[in-house]
Symmetry: C3
């Protein structure tokens, strides 16, 4: 039946029911017509879809945030290149996640990888399945096929069972998951900036989003072995941020540092060319995270849950910025703006996994610790001569790992029940142990696989621009453009 | 009755009904009170209104995108002028569309123009009309007064029948349509940049939004002759983008090229002054298009439709960017960033008409072709010495036309039925023919009328700044401001 | 009962009812199952929550707008400092409003201050309370405990009665009110820019959001004495903007002007360093205001109200920009961009109080007057040698006061009833008088208290940087950073 026609029957059927009710009683002259459950369900799907799409748009908008943060914290002579990388990475992600990534992540399969409906999201799927399955919404990350008192999976028929807990149409699910996948790829971009070949980055991004990200994603959100082992990651401290972080670390190692950074055995800081870009970028990311975390409910019916997650996210962002400010003020004598900005991002990354599992006080503390980690980790990576121009490793890798573990340290079973609807019943020690196993599993896969891919790219097409091009700037070398041709800069 | 009091009766009436039900059965002790249809309908109007307003806000936000793209792709000495033009154009559009534009576009009238409720949106209107008319939602662009199995127009009473298919209040309809009208005016801004007088542009914009845009809009979305002739344009490849494009082409011809562009019979490219602005601007526009196209459902009840349209829009944006990248890499030897950006916009413009009528594969292909067209058209217009500083003609005119025709080439009647709810039943040849007639009709009206207006403005107040002012920059000449007074630029 | 399990009973209970209905009639074979009122109410809470959170996100996004407007209108050498101030002010506001601000503003208490549930929003609260209390939505600012035909407060149980009219969870209320509080603090930032010590500003911001803002806020939105005296302020011309403005005026007086501004008895204008930032910032603020004003319904069920408020907001922004443009064109001979931008903001500030109480024609006129006031006030404050680098006093203080009074001048009881649902029944003279009393009460508290705090900060830690640091720029002095190190600027 044409969906339009099906919906057309709304008032007729409910009108019929009202008429029926009238017939049974003489006093019913002024009874209002009643609403049918089917209509209410349609409305619910509409509301949930609007929420998921708006949240997804906010996460998409984070592409602008990353583009500005990364280009702002790098040199003016590489601005066009960084903007182009950050722009095209989402286009590439769109293709690779559509072609194969979604299928590997959410297709029904085994504990390690999706196998059904692999290509072009073409598997069978009757989303949004109406009926009892709806009740399972918010029962985020239920292991594949697990029966619970709240769910009756028999009503869902299709190849993407693990994401049937959200009552939205398939393409809303796809869009929301796509923008998450794109975020992982974008994290790599900053760490390898100012020396990587444009073509090599595009190819690595395609592989990351097509294969690496969805495979570990399947383990956690696709019904795989980590979801069965009580590992919890509400919105992706591990699934998104540390995956991007491990891939970035591998790239940083294989690429080596920028020529100017550790000359003569000393650290030569290379300041960012545009702090307006960097600050605007982080404000965009802060806003985007209000889609990233609260949107991970993938349903709007539980207003309490999305409100709670949003406030916890905001608190950690605030304490992360303040703690990095204070840490930098103590260590560096002045409140360095780039440290404040990275501290805020660190708080956001760290609260991403635990936002629906811990109290606000814990959220505030997680932000404080994340801000300190961010500052110390930047210094630490410089000691190791791992050159990360924008601090992506400190923010996404270190705090992705920390946040995932923090879900264990601060785990609260009541909040896990009422907000995430995903209690494990473990104590904090036990939950931390489950988290640690997940963190190690993901790192043990993503880091070496990324290393291999970077080495293959290096051996075949080359991944690093020439020393001359690096000195002159990648904008001219890779793109034939200048970002600010009207202005006099010190690099010309 | 006060609407607040009316709503106050919600629980009383439904409570009464429940009580009634209880009275009829002895076993009913624990029956839950039922929801009334009136309450459900109110909630539906609320949801649809939130969706339409949020989508409208995203389209409003495109003003920032256009301001950044256009100023970024022009010279620093004209930045204040371009920002001022792009800022004030929406203020002017607000007035002109309120005063007369809406009435001409959506007022009941004849096949060519609206006649009722012309001024200040002051016609009779009982939106959101409750009842069966709701069922007609998503039956986008139904010809005026046409009866369908799904609609019963008798429930709507007012002067704006052609837009009664969306169950939102009149002022939500107005806002959403206003931001579309403003977009058309903004397209002109880029093409005539760096030489037009500020006052002349303001006057042309007022006329465009008050008269030209709403008249062709009436033909297509206001129940006019093109909607009756099976012409389809889901979100405005023609209604918005090619209308803006034709008006821009007329302006480019009457103004002539910038002095520096085609000196000595050769092409002298004038690079944009700020690629950070340009890239951020296109990311804003990409985001805004998630309001532009999915919002054109003007209702949220059908979650499938808005999800589908959004994903198709995103796919075409991605393939547009990638295909322009590859085309530029081949033709220009390097992946020029401004070409990547314009390729993305080209994909977005092209998918705007067909997004709810074609498959995702077709959407991907439309993006690919649009990206190629964008690059080639920029080269083509330069050959003709039609000087368009930002590529607005290549993006909005060429791809507005292409996208409208592509709806025919790739027309899929099943998708037109289930997503757009506007099937024509024609085959692809027939639909393409209907599309071509619409494209030609609109061009045959907008282009000559715009030419005449530009010539009248030229003859009366003058439209082009002096050669000295053009060389010195319009910022000082027109506004007495500099955009970046602290910086040393090569133009000073 | 676990909320998840409670919701799980949705279909069971409604199914039971349907079964019941079937049992009473023989002809009922094809009757559709009916929706329960509890389910509908849950859905309503979900929709209202989505609207309130999305609107709150838009207001949060205004932080980016203020950061760009303020840094853009100041000198490049102070950019890092201004960005850092605007970034960290929301982090500080988050803490201070969470710790104590919310409790003082919305805690049940006396006519002057909240007393219950003071710290960490830890008071009792059963939001979203289901039942009749819902009916009171949109009955904005009902005085504490007042009984109306529409409300039955007995269903709400908690310490925050004055904000129980909105049917959203407590943490959605908190987030929405937090972003408003943050806005007030951010207004101060611009006026004191280019000479204030970073640490002193952080402490003042904490005090403003923890104590000053919530106390006057309690008078108006927390059930205090002004709400009982028919004072009306729909979205905060007084509560937010003039409070921020009074605090800023005190700071400007205690700080004194920048050294370079009024040298040798003459006015030396100091142009902003980046008009791209300024224009983008105002476009962000314009967008953010679509959350600020329409979101102040704090519920989405009444689509008409939010649509009306949004359109009125947009009209005043447009006429504000145009009237400032014309005023500047007449007075300054050219359409100065910063005047256009401030005119738009002036219109937005002025329409904030009256948007739900006046007609669109009145809204347009309010914008026109606001734009004129903005231009004249900038000139006026310069005459008084009150140095406000970004025009914050002209925009927020003068037009906050004007807009609040304009609610009286243009008061329309029908609109107040149908849109704001807060009629007073007064005539325009009486309403203006009520407004004036509120304006004076707030000013008489905020201005002297702010003065005292600024003087205490001056006497203890010092609030102004050294003359050398001011000349060299606060970026190096306060933060050790430069905003644009690659570029050659005239200040180096």
């Amino acid at each position: 039946m044409n969906p339009r026609i099906k919906r057309a029957s709304w008032l007729l059927s409910t009108g019929a029911l009202a008429a029926l009710a009238l017939a049974t009683t003489a006093q019913a002259a002024d009874a209002a017509p009643t609403a049918s459950l089917a209509d209410l369900s349609s409305l619910r799907v509409g509301l949930d879809t609007v929420w998921v799409l708006v949240a997804g748009m906010l996460v998409f908008w984070m592409n602008a945030g990353f583009a500005l943060v990364e280009s702002g914290l790098c040199q003016s002579k590489n601005t066009v290149n960084i903007l182009a990388k950050n722009f095209i990475v989402f286009a590439v992600s769109t293709l690779s996640f559509w072609v194969i990534g979604w299928g590997l992540m959410f297709g029904d399969g085994n504990a390690f990888v999706g196998l059904k409906g692999l290509f072009f999201v073409s598997g069978a799927d009757n989303s949004p399945a109406l009926g009892k399955a709806y009740v399972g919404m918010n029962t985020f990350m239920y292991p594949l096929g697990a029966a619970t008192p709240d769910t009756d999976p028999s009503l869902y028929a299709g190849d993407y069972s693990s994401i049937n807990w959200t009552p939205v149409p398939l393409w809303a699910k796809f869009f929301f998951q796509l923008v998450f996948a794109g975020t992982a790829a974008t994290i790599v971009s900053g760490a390898v900036a100012e020396r990587i070949k444009f073509g090599a980055f595009m190819i690595f991004s395609f592989i990351l989003v097509a294969f690496i990200y969805p495979i570990t994603g399947h383990w956690i959100w696709g019904g795989g072995f980590l979801s069965l082992a009580n590992f919890r990651d509400f919105a992706g401290s591990t699934v998104v941020h540390s995956v991007g972080g491990w891939a970035a670390l591998a790239g940083v190692i294989v690429l080596g540092p920028r020529l100017a950074k550790y000359r003569d055995g000393k650290l030569h800081p290379i300041p960012g060319h545009n702090m307006t870009s960097a600050a605007l970028g982080v404000l965009i990311l802060w806003l985007g995270w209000f889609g990233f975390n609260p949107g991970s409910t993938m349903a709007a019916m539980d207003g309490k849950a999305i409100s709670y997650v949003l406030v916890n996210t905001n608190i950690a962002a605030a304490t992360g910025a303040l703690s990095a400010l204070i840490t930098a003020w103590i260590l560096l004598k002045k409140p360095d703006l780039s440290m404040i900005l990275n501290g805020c991002l660190a708080g956001l990354v760290a609260i991403t996994a635990p936002c629906a599992f811990v109290s606000f006080s814990a959220g505030a503390l997680i932000g404080v610790i994340a801000g300190i980690i961010a500052v110390l980790a930047v210094i630490f990576f410089d000691k190791l001569k791992l050159d990360d121009p924008v601090g992506a490793l400190a923010v996404h890798l270190c705090n992705g790992v920390f946040g995932t573990l923090a879900l264990g340290f601060f785990y609260d079973n009541d909040i896990a029940t009422s907000i995430a609807a995903l209690p494990t019943g473990l104590d904090r020690m036990g939950q931390t142990w489950a988290q640690l196993k997940g963190v190690l599993s993901v790192g043990a896969f993503v880091f070496p696989v990324s290393l291999v891919i970077w080495y293959i790219l290096k051996a075949t097409m080359g991944i690093r621009v020439s020393a001359d091009e690096e000195r002159e700037g990648l904008d001219i070398g890779e793109h034939g453009n200048e970002a600010y041709p009207d202005f006099t800069t010190s690099h010309k």
